[in-house]
Amino acid sequence: MRIVPKHSILFILIISCTSLAAQTVLIKQTVPENFEDKDEGHGPNRAHFSYPYFALGVHTDGYSHENDTIISPVYGRSMEMRFGSRTRLKLNRFLGFGIDYELGYSAHFINLKDAYALANFSPDVKKARYQIYTIGGASYFQFNFEPKRGNQLGSYLDIGVFGGYNFGRKYSQTLKIGKEKSVYKLKKLQDFEKLNYGAIIRFGQRVWAIYAKYRYSNSFKNKTTTGNYELPRLTFGFEYFFGKT
């Protein structure tokens, strides 16, 4: 007899606390007190904004600030891909500051017509490439062209620097001697620089951006033993941003 009242009280308590539980709430909306705080300062044109991105670029030969020989890339195959997250702080209507964190993969296919001329390339080499895996980032200043836009990225120009650690450094080449084909692979290349850094410029409009990167750091540690050649320093590409920008 003593158990029954105890359970009854519990039951009544549950029922009284969940007076809506027997109904299905079809619509329930709460109204913000202040609409300026609706997104708590986060958004494409608010003080804070973060969004993921994907970048695809092509390496190209050209200018080098050092007296080295840029090996021509194989256009269309010498590319880089990057996935990352971008966080931007809006300093004022015109100026922002951003930081990227990213994982990158870069493939440098060597244009063998040029490379045969170099001492360490045999005419038997039919295909050669460097593959670099990077973890890194970038920081930049953002200049906004449309400061009076709404909550969207709009058009902007980013100028900044990038840097990264090359945690994967591979070289592979395919040799063909007579009819025999062989593949030669090297991992964790010791003469390859572990760090890379340089400058980046990017023009963006809403979900798209085009960018140009110049790698200031060298690819190889000791150029005298590697024939003073250098992988392409310039990269051009585009970025795509996911989410509401």
Binding site: S16, S19, L20, A22, Q23, T24, V25, L26, I27, K28, Q29, T30, V31, N34, F35, E36, K38, D39, G43, N45, Y63, F145, E146, K148, R149, G150, N151, Q152, S155, L157, F203, K244
Partner: protein, 556 residues
């Protein structure tokens, strides 16, 4: 050399993208001659007389030509001008901007340019069985046949539609009755500055069909005998950026040409503005909407389709207090449809004011009469309804009509920020005594600690369960463009159209500042629908609505 080239490219880049559009506001209209009888259509003059609006008002006078000439000599490109705001729209480089700012007769220069969000959803390209039910339902939800029985078809009411193009309006049989009686009074393309608007986007054609279209004798919209002014102000495919100045010029044009009602199924949101700008006082077209209302025009605007998006709330000019904003109802649930933008305004005024079906049958070139969705089409349904009401009582001023439309809605005096006052009902106008003696559907019992709301036995019904996110056809899942995927999209093969508000229990909580903190809609599964603890809600006002009965209580 390379550095110089890079710098030069950067400067060029910067110069190109720094060319913006501006409103150049002028100081005065001194010495300008203006004869309203030469400028206005007779209907516009009559409207002014009826609404006690001065015929020769400062806002209607033209701009000073000498000021216009001087601006046009400096500016890169003149896009247009507005009499109402005494301003010129133009494209300026930074240098030209400085030059213009220094002119003595320039009061202010404000940057603009924006992107339009069409209040349109996607449409089904194939016709399904059940579409006829939807077609009849969009009229029946407003008791539209009551108007037809009384011969109220919007006759004598001039409606201006501001939209993106009107292909087929000059050829399709859907609009034959309008053409036969020469009831397309004027047309103007504000993009091309010419009268041909019968091409480009079909959005306007669908909107017109929802106001006045007729297919095989069945009404698509209610105002089949109204007169029309058709203005094209937007491009859909050519540019993402649209111009608010064209909307502004179009509504001035509508005023000049005697429009009684303006329907605009456009909205301006995130491309230019923040949600906190939606206070009816910030965006120029919201101010223009209010000014048009002051000149006696009933301005009706779609609430927008941002309800399920990041923006969520209404856009401009739906935020203007004198603009009648119309949200969307899902015909198969009778409730707010997920994409319809929510209110309130940023300063907590009620929006949307009314609702109508957000999934409708409308006409588009190529697809004929087909199902489409968006609050773009809720707004014209109400515009057609308003034209019929105005025809029934031409002595009403625009704001009296505005108020009466709200009063006629099925939830009134209850409201919330998803439905407004609900869907307008024709019997309020055609049979005002009908329903006044209806018995209460629920009781509100107050004890010392609680308020208990109980549904009366004779009104207690259990509605069918609503299944959200239900797609009956595989093709819908596969072919639907992801960003057009609305959570509660249904196919017309679904069951019957539901009467808005039927069987659901609505309640809201209003704070002492006078706006709602929260609002809910419940399905009813038991008679004791709600119990509120008084001690936790002191100072708050509760309003409840169930099957035609609304009650209010303030807890003290």
């Amino acid at each position: 050399m390379r550095i110089v080239l890079v710098l030069f490219s950067f400067l060029l880049f910067n110069a190109y993208f720094s060319q913006e559009k501006y409103w150049v506001y002028l100081t005065d209209k001194d010495g300008v001659e203006f004869n309203p009888h030469n400028y206005f259509d007779q209907k516009a003059i009559n409207r002014r007389i009826k609404n006690n609006v001065p015929l020769n008002h400062f806002t209607d006078r033209p701009l000073r030509t000498d000021y216009q000439d001087k601006i046009s000599h400096i500016a890169e490109f003149i896009c247009g001008h507005t009499r109402w705001f005494n301003a010129i729209a133009c494209k300026l480089t930074p240098q030209q901007l400085i030059e213009i700012q220094n002119l003595a007769f320039v009061k202010e220069v404000l940057a603009m340019s924006t992107r339009t969000v069409f209040a349109e959803g996607n449409d089904y390209k194939e016709l399904h069985k059940g579409e006829q039910g939807l077609l009849e339902g969009q009229i029946a939800s407003m008791q539209g046949k009551e108007f037809t029985k009384k011969g109220l078809t919007g006759k004598g009411i001039r409606i201006c539609i501001i939209d993106a193009g009107f292909p087929d309006v000059n050829t399709s049989s859907i609009y034959q009755h309008i053409r036969d009686n020469n009831r397309i009074i004027k047309t103007w393309d504000f993009k091309k500055n010419k009268p041909d608007i019968y091409k480009y986007s079909s959005h306007g054609s669908t909107v017109l069909s929802c106001i006045a279209g007729k297919t095989d004798g069945v009404f698509i919209g209610l105002a089949i005998d109204s007169e029309f002014l058709l203005a094209r102000t937007e491009r859909i495919l050519y540019e993402g950026d649209a111009e608010e100045e064209d909307w502004l010029m179009a509504i001035e044009w509508a005023d000049k040409n005697g429009a009684d009602i303006v329907n605009s199924s456009l909205g301006y949101t995130s491309a230019r503005h923040f949600v906190e700008d939606m206070d009816g006082k910030t965006c120029i077209i919201s101010k223009a909407g209010n000014l048009a209302a002051r000149k006696g025009i009933l301005v009706i605007n779609a609430a927008g389709n941002e309800g399920a998006g990041n923006w969520k709330y209404i856009g401009a000019p739906a935020d203007a207090d004198s603009v009648l904003s119309v949200g969307g109802i899902n015909p198969w649930t009778g409730l707010h449809t997920s994409f319809s933008s929510y209110g309130p305004t940023a300063d907590h005024r009620l929006k949307p004011n009314l609702s109508a079906f957000g999934h409708v049958m409308g006409y588009s070139p190529g697809t004929g009469v087909h199902e489409t969705q968006g609050t773009s089409f809720s707004s014209p349904l109400v515009a057609g309804f308003a034209a019929c009401v105005w025809q029934s009582d031409t002595t009403l001023t625009n704001m009296e009509l505005f108020k009466k439309l709200e009063e006629s809605a099925n939830l009134h005096p209850y409201f919330d920020y998803a439905h407004g006052y609900g869907v307008p009902q024709a019997t309020y106008f055609t049979d005002p005594l009908n329903g006044t003696e209806e018995s209460e559907t629920f009781t509100l019992d107050e004890s010392e600690s609680f308020i208990q709301i109980t549904i009366k036995d004779e009104h207690f019904t259990i509605e069918d369960k609503i299944v959200f996110d239900y797609f009956p056809y595989t093709f819908n899942k596969l072919n639907r463009i992801p960003w057009l995927h609305f959570q509660d999209t249904y196919s017309t093969l679904d069951s019957n159209i539901k009467k808005s508000g039927a069987g659901y229990f609505y309640y809201h909580i209003e704070n002492d500042a006078g706006y709602l903190d929260e609002y809910l809609v419940l399905s009813v599964y038991e008679k004791n629908i709600l119990r509120i603890r008084k001690s936790e809600n002191i100072g708050k006002t509760y309003r409840f609505h169930y099957k035609g009965t609304s009650k209010k209580i303030t807890l003290e």
